[in-house]
Symmetry: C2
Subunit: 183 residues, 2 copies
Amino acid sequence: MPRSPGQRAGLTHEAVLAAAREVFAERGLAGLSMRAVAAELGVAPNALYSHVADKTALVDALLDDQLAALAPPPPDAEPRDGLREVMLATYDLLGRHPDLVPLYLARQGARGPQARALGAAMTVLLGRLGLAEAEAGRVVRALIVSTLGYAALATADDANLRPPQLRADLEVTLDWLLRGATA
Amino acid sequence: MPRSPGQRAGLTHEAVLAAAREVFAERGLAGLSMRAVAAELGVAPNALYSHVADKTALVDALLDDQLAALAPPPPDAEPRDGLREVMLATYDLLGRHPDLVPLYLARQGARGPQARALGAAMTVLLGRLGLAEAEAGRVVRALIVSTLGYAALATADDANLRPPQLRADLEVTLDWLLRGATA
DNA sequence: TGGACGAACTGTACAGCGTCCAGTAAGTTG
DNA sequence: CAACTTACTGGACGCTGTACAGTTCGTCCA
């Protein structure tokens, strides 16, 4: 509903992020412009800059936000199963939002709180496999790199590389990595 | 040298690609606009469209072009060494052109002739390790995914993730993958 | 040899982008 | 009640990729 002019919109960082989420869901990454987000809020484009440093900061926030859909593996799970499950869930999530894959890789998305929480949960599981923290960090990175990489591959529309096929390949790859890391 | 008006520029696909290579080398991906390429050739921006479908096609060509700097592993190399060398050389190349990493991942750059040649040479080496062609393709993908993924990670300026450190991690990861694949 | 034809190129223009600047109006604090 | 801060608007700048229409050239065939 359009405010009467002279009224404040009462924006917040969260409101802007929510609008960005909406625009992204409806029109994809290509449709996610500052102007579109502003229009969604019924506000002039520049108004966003009171709540967000610039577009890349908004996109970063959106990237982490999307990870909220992923449940961290419980600490008492069988470690290998838990790790495989998160990674496959991540792969599936990215499959639903292929636009984001390059962004996660480019800025290595793992900066926000959601990403941190997932990383910490994975480190716990690797600890139960006997890995020290530094070593666990390296393995987490290896797992993530392959998962994001396969998700990126799945966005190319090559008949030989359908997402289910690649998902199976990813599963095998994760297995090799975990086996190598705990040998 | 500026042609006298009314003279043809005599552009070709290769000339456009060469200009794009030049602009990219000097001003990076952000500076690679159709206008910049056209200016480099002393030509109106739209002139490019007689030789290139659109910008993404030009960028695709540039991506494959850059791979020409990579020497395919000789077929008689020790397979594991040869594979590790190409992948590390790829990692090093991408380290010099971080801008391109997301693009390689997004369009899975491996469509052009250069990419195909590298893939074929890798498949030969994997064949000598006893892998059938389909299986070799999967392993090639796994290796590439990790290599590009680590290169992407290296573009994030995190003090804990310096390129040399990640290169070492990649080396270990490649080892795990090759070991897993040939077990 | 001339005339048609297609390709190459220019000029102009459009719609869109991120974001800066200056101004105004509202809310908050002394 | 006055001073100040914050949130927002209007307008603009410089840039993008590329579509459209028109002109000029090289080539090929009658």
